[in-house]
């Protein structure tokens, strides 16, 4: 028999009433998705871990002020994107990210290799290069463009949802995507033509 999970709204109400376990449930529910969002913006697992802790801490501190005007999903994404962009601005001031710092952990991910190489060794070698190039290209985008590409292309969020998260019009979302894709095409030309 399948157990019904409580909806986000109910967990939020319980958290607002002081039930910390309800917030734990929200952390478990949202952390995989927000991990993806932050990781694809920072390209570093270590930074993502720290930043995600900060994001949930901030959400917990501010949850009493959440009035339900938007969905909790949108609210959490807004906090995550804003904090990730602020973090990237600070990181840029601190140092220029070396390309060696870019995380290539995916290359050890069996699911990824299975999904893309089909056991072909020469393709596996190319994957390494592709992965590196993909991360490098993402880091070359501006923070705003990277956020839009992450949400639309990688996480599959619709334009309308992205516009709510970033508090910009859908037209601006589309325009940012267009320019970001054009830049990425230049960086990834060799892989597109293959």
């Amino acid at each position: 028999m399948e157990t019904l999970e409580p909806p986000d709204d109910e967990l939020v109400r319980r958290t607002q009433a002081g039930d910390a376990r309800a917030f734990d449930e929200l952390v478990l529910r949202f952390s995989p998705r927000l991990y993806g969002l932050v990781y694809h913006m920072t390209s570093s697992h270590e930074d993502t871990n720290d930043l995600l802790q900060d994001i949930f801490s901030k959400a917990y501190r501010s949850i009493k002020g959440f009035q339900g005007k938007s969905s909790f999903y949108t609210w959490m994404h807004t906090i995550a994107v804003n904090m990730a962009i602020n973090f990237l601005k600070k990181r840029n001031r601190r140092k220029t990210t070396s390309l060696d710092d870019v995380d290539n952990g995916i290359l050890n991910d069996p699911d990824f290799i299975e999904a893309t190489s089909h056991g072909d060794p020469s393709r596996e070698a190319n994957l390494s290069e592709l992965q590196k190039k993909l991360n490098e290209s993402m880091l070359k985008l501006s923070h705003d463009h990277r956020a839009v590409v992450t949400m639309f292309d990688i996480q599959g969020m619709p334009h309308a949802e992205i516009s709510k998260v970033l508090k910009i019009s859908e037209g601006t979302v589309r325009s940012r995507l267009f320019y970001a894709h054009r830049q990425l095409q230049n960086y990834l030309q060799e892989f597109i033509n293959k």
């Binding site: 697992h45 801490s57 993909l134 292309d153 990688i154 597109i192």
Partner: protein, 134 residues
Amino acid sequence: MDNEDSITKLLRLKRYEQPSEEYFQNFLAEFQTRQRSEVIHRPLLQIAWDRFSSIFILPSVPKLVMATSFATAVFAAAFIMNWADDDTPSNLTLASSGAVQLDSKARPAQGKNGSAVQYVLPARPVSYASARSF
């Protein structure tokens, strides 16, 4: 448009970059530990603000107004406390001769021969004297 699709397909490969389930369980444990530590080490001013906002903040009042009134209250409290510290103790009276004597109610100290010792302070505090006068 083909290039656009190719970019989208390439970027979708990044969806696989996700840690294991175990990571997220550990993440929650780490978050709980950190939360407890934050509660213990929270700055005094932040605790005061949280209490103030939980008591006084109304949904219709803008947060900026509340923050300003909170800051004013903190400054006022600091000023009053500072002012109270500077105040002269009430059991000291200034004598007309220019010396300060202890209040008659206070028990006088006893000298060697049993006579009361009188404490006489100069009318002009040392801090007012010129640095070049010896």
